[in-house]
């Protein structure tokens, strides 16, 4: 929002401290570490490769929302995994003003939509089609929503997308804001443990899918990209527009660390990689650094072109 002008002021300060162009700076590159394991994997893979290219790297714990202010101001430098669906207002404005530069997609194929546990297929025949939900709303009902079904949506500060879709296609469901990711997962875990009805807006890749089984509600096929905000109704509902996962850097990275900039352009991480690594970390309780180091060792063929390109781009 308006707060952005403030960030501009801040980044002018940051620019002033950048030493003259030419050689890559030897300052440490600061990478934010957010609150979820998938991002830890992406951040540490990127960081390890930057180290292979000869940079010093510093991992800094940062909240998913506050980090954008920090990246725009140049306090943090690059972030390989940004989910463009829940970014608030700061991020798009910072991209627009040029403080944050987007370097394309990471390669994750995200999916967003409504998930439910497989045992609900028996209680609500016709699933996974969303059409089935019209007839068996009561199978998903709870005390506070009866006779309408209870649909857990994203927390209120992540927007009102499910609520809008429910209203547009006139589904007999009551959207209940999830509060926080922790609360949503707690609800899913306990519902699955007791085989209780549950349907929830969720996203993947997420470590939860490595541990538990879920089905996705299916929608009518959209001709091309799904337009989520308007025009959906029963019979022609395409559900949700799918997000993209972007790589971003602060605007000074290109001049301060040209090699790192090049590496960020090239690096990719796909669903399979993240899911395998997340399973090791979250379910088998192994250390993040160890698991990432193993992956890096085993996949030299994948990343060596990236590191070579980075070294070539470094101004010597």
């Amino acid at each position: 929002m308006n707060a952005l002008k403030g960030m501009v002021a801040g980044s002018i300060l940051a620019t002033a401290s950048v030493t003259g162009a030419g050689a890559d700076s030897s300052d440490p590159i600061r990478i934010p570490v957010n609150e979820w394991t998938g991002q830890h994997v992406s951040a540490h893979i990127t960081g390890t490769l930057l180290q292979k290219a000869g940079y010093t790297v510093e991992y800094v714990t940062a909240g998913a929302v506050p980090q954008f202010a920090a990246i725009a101001q140049g306090d943090l430098h690059l972030q390989p995994e940004v989910w463009t669906n829940n970014v608030g207002d700061v991020y798009p404005k910072a991209v627009e003003s040029g403080d944050i530069v987007v370097l394309g997609q990471l390669g994750l194929q995200p999916q967003e939509g409504w998930i439910y546990p497989p045992y609900m297929n028996d209680k609500c025949p016709g699933l996974p089609s969303y059409e089935a939900l019209y007839d068996c709303a009561q199978a998903f009902a709870a005390a506070d929503t009866f006779p309408r079904g209870r649909l857990i949506t994203y927390p209120a500060d992540w927007g009102t997308r499910s609520k809008d879709v429910v209203a547009m296609i006139d589904l007999p469901f009551e959207p209940v804001a999830g509060g926080s990711e922790g609360a949503m997962i707690a609800e899913l875990k306990s519902a699955l443990a007791a085989e209780q009805p549950v349907i929830m807006m969720f996203w993947q890749p997420h470590w939860l899918f490595a541990a538990l089984d879920f089905d996705w509600v299916s929608w009518d096929p959209a001709g091309g990209e799904c337009v989520e905000e308007s025009g959906q109704k029963r019979g022609s509902a395409c559900g949700f527009q799918q997000a993209s996962v972007d790589k971003i850097v602060n605007k000074d990275v290109a001049t301060k660390w040209p090699g790192a900039y090049r590496l960020m352009e090239m690096v990719t991480v796909d669903n399979a990689t993240q899911n395998t690594l997340m399973l090791e970390i979250d379910n088998k309780g192994r250390k993040l650094e160890e698991v990432v180091a193993e992956w890096v060792e085993a996949n030299e063929a994948t990343w060596s072109p990236w590191v070579e390109a980075a070294k070539a781009a470094m101004s010597s």
Partner: protein, 694 residues
């Protein structure tokens, strides 16, 4: 004789207001703006605030950023020092300090706490948290002492500082995280500043109170000895007020600990707070509980330590003893640290605790919650539905909407509605004749509230009612303050959210106050109950509140009921503590006299102790309300729609104005509630007259 004639004018005002409310409700189809404040009338307060913030960042931003770079230096130094020290040195020195300050019991507890951090494998994280607190507490104490002394010395300064303190303590920290982030840049310094802002007010209050309470004889003695004003302040006043000031240090320390997690939300600190947030996001109850206990243990140790320092007998100045004698304990602590440090060089495991020796019982805790959820699903659902249908929904949306065949088992037919109205009217008339118009009007208002629900009552009626209540409890000033504060909520366009918050918080406060006073009463009568409650109270107050959210969600699911329970778990503590304290401190002479007259134990409690303890119990209600409101923001994480949620929306969108308007709204509600309950407490006190205090 009828009381009708004896009613005071303001009772009649109340009656008129009730009638006006009914009229407004009748008119709601014709003129909707009477019930729901129209969007078009909302003042653009949020854009104004945002514009102000931009101006602030542009003009003073660079200065702030330079400041945060300066503060970062000592912070990093302390953090690195604590991480560099072998664990055995930290253990030995802290245990010794605890022994010197408060004896072997605290030493034992301290030793246990340090070992706990080590054994579950959170040593580095714990030291990082300790570093944050080690910097923020002295800073807060310094700022607090300075402002407290200033408030004491200058009446004008006090008039500015006092309301500022109220705001600092009631505006939720989440609301000002964003502006701090914009001004000071990203990093641990932001957490530090948030922590200092929240922690310094108790220090100001206690410093001012302590300085003002120094007896005039002491001052005179100082003057006669020829003290200069500066000597009088530093050598006479400050030492005499030391005990009260140290109490302030104690409260400031506790407040700083409660901010550890919130500081981590910004990030930049790989500390215990971050660990709790991380595990909470994965809904790992066992893991987050184990991490949360670290903060609880640290806070308890610091609480006992500073409390012991505050109550210790002042030592004799020891004028001509040698340097060593005066600082004997400090020398021993340093010597002990060096000795253990040397030993750690020789024996490796004293330096770095081997990972293989760590114990991490998180899985058992998780299994326990899962067992509860699976085995008792039916009972849990019953409790939840019952609470919803018979308590929460009637207050929120009124009986008119709540009673359906699904909920209460029957239809709310026009006949039944007429019955409800007739019953309410009969009760009102009875009250009017026996107790006067004032009471009758209150009953009538409650009946209307239950029928329509708090969230569907017209805003002009609620505004007028609250203002009148303010006038009765605290005079004209409180009435004006109430009207202005609620008026702000209305024109800022957050009235519906405010009412949702009032409903949730009000219900939680009423329930936890009733429960808390009951428990406090039991605790005052039976020492065993008291001993059992104390550790529970300590844990609930020092454990990061996020941790208790997860099991509540797993058991009771996302929604308002879980939020209600979470608020109650925190707000019940002051109710218990104040009730027990008040009942145990009824003057002994009074109890003796009553016993001599042949009071039974029950009569003693109900007729003597309870009435005498009432003013203090009402202060407990005040604190219950404050704690309840403080918890609203955190309860929003399990899915509520009040002002608490607005604060997150502001934080998520990077919209300074939205967050701060909601934060101010919560602060205003808290302040109104505070002044009103203090008014009630004062009235009780006056009714009792001066009691013999020991």
């Amino acid at each position: 004789m009828s009381r009708l004639a004896a009613s005071r004018p303001r009772d009649w005002i109340r009656a008129v207001l009730v009638l006006a409310t009914l009229a407004l409700l009748a008119l709601q189809d014709v003129a909707g703006w009477l019930v729901v404040y129209p969007d078009a009338w909302v003042l653009p307060i949020t854009p104004w605030l945002n514009a102000f913030m931009v101006w602030c960042v542009d003009t003073v931003g660079p200065g702030f950023r330079a400041f945060s770079a300066t503060v970062d230096v000592p912070m990093t130094a302390v953090r690195e020092l604590l991480n560099w020290l072998p664990w055995s040195v930290v253990l030995a020195v802290l245990t010794f300090v605890a022994w010197a300050a408060a004896g072997w019991r605290l030493a034992l507890f301290t030793g246990f706490a340090v070992l706990y951090m080590l054994i579950i494998g959170y040593w580095t994280e714990s030291m990082n948290s300790l570093a944050l607190v080690a910097i923020s507490v002295p800073t807060a104490v310094g700022v607090g002492f300075g402002l407290g002394a200033l408030a004491f010395l200058s009446g004008r300064a006090e008039r500015v500082i006092a309301p500022g303190l109220d705001l600092m303590q009631t505006v939720p920290a989440f609301a000002y995280l964003l502006p701090i982030l914009l001004l000071f840049g990203f990093g641990p310094v932001v957490g530090l500043i948030a922590s200092v802002l929240y922690a310094f007010p108790p220090m100001v209050r206690n410093t001012r109170l302590g300085l003002a309470r120094v007896s005039s004889e002491v001052i005179e003695a100082g003057l006669m000895a020829g003290a200069t004003p500066s000597q009088l302040f530093w050598r006479v006043r400050t030492p005499s007020a030391l005990r009260q000031i140290l109490l302030g240090v104690n409260q400031t320390t506790m407040a700083a600990f409660s901010m550890v997690i919130i500081a981590s939300i910004i990030g930049g600190t790989a500390d215990i707070g971050w660990e709790v947030l991380l595990t909470m996001r994965k809904a790992q109850f066992g893991e987050s509980l184990l991490a949360g206990i670290v903060i609880a243990l640290m806070a308890m140790v610091m609480d006992r330590l500073t409390a012991a320092a505050a109550t210790a007998e002042p030592k004799d100045p020891g004028g001509d003893r040698g340097l060593f004698a005066r600082h004997r304990n400090a020398f021993i602590a340093v010597g002990l640290g060096l000795a253990v440090g040397l030993l750690a060089e020789l024996i490796p495991f004293l330096k770095a605790y081997p990972e293989a020796w760590e114990i991490y019982p998180a899985q058992y805790l998780n299994d326990a919650v899962t067992w509860l959820v699976v085995e008792h699903a039916g009972t849990i659902n019953l409790i939840k539905s019952w609470a919803f249908f018979f308590v929460m929904l009637p207050v929120k949306t009124g009986l008119a909407q709540t009673i359906t065949p699904f909920t209460w088992g029957f239809e709310f037919t026009p006949g039944l509605k007429a019955g409800y109205v007739a019953l309410a009217l009969a009760l009102v008339l009875y009250m009017a004749v026996r107790r006067g118009v004032g009471r009758a009007s209150s009953i009538a208002f409650l009946a209307i509230l239950l029928f329509f629900g708090l969230t569907r009552l017209p805003w002009p009626a609620l505004l007028a009612m609250a203002t009148l209540l303010g006038w009765q409890l605290g005079g004209l000033r409180l009435a004006l303050g109430t009207a202005a504060a609620l008026g702000f909520l209305i024109v800022a366009g957050v009235w519906p959210q405010a009412m949702l918050s009032v409903y949730l918080c009000g219900l939680a406060v009423l329930l936890s106050f009733a429960l808390g006073v009951g428990l406090g009463l039991l605790a005052s009568e039976y020492d065993a109950v008291s001993a059992a409650l104390r550790p529970i109270n300590d844990t609930l107050q020092t454990m990061p509140l996020f941790v208790i959210l997860i099991p509540f969600v797993m058991i009771f699911k996302i929604g308002e009921f879980t939020a209600l329970l979470a608020i109650m778990a925190y707000a019940v503590v002051p109710a218990i503590r104040y009730a027990e304290h008040a009942l145990r401190n009824v003057p002994a002479q009074v109890v003796e006299a009553a016993t001599c007259f042949g009071c039974t134990r029950r009569q003693l409690l109900w007729r003597v102790k309870l009435p005498l303890a009432m003013p203090v119990i009402m202060l407990g209600l005040n604190q219950t309300i404050m704690f309840g409101i403080a918890m609203l923001v955190i309860a929003a994480l399990v899915g509520t729609n009040g002002l608490g949620q607005q604060v997150y929306i502001g934080l998520g969108d990077g919209d300074f104005g939205v967050g701060i308007v909601a934060g101010l709204g919560m602060a205003f509600i808290a302040m109104i509630a505070d002044r009103m309950t203090q008014g009630v407490s004062r009235t009780w006190q006056e009714r009792l007259g001066p009691t013999p205090r020991q």
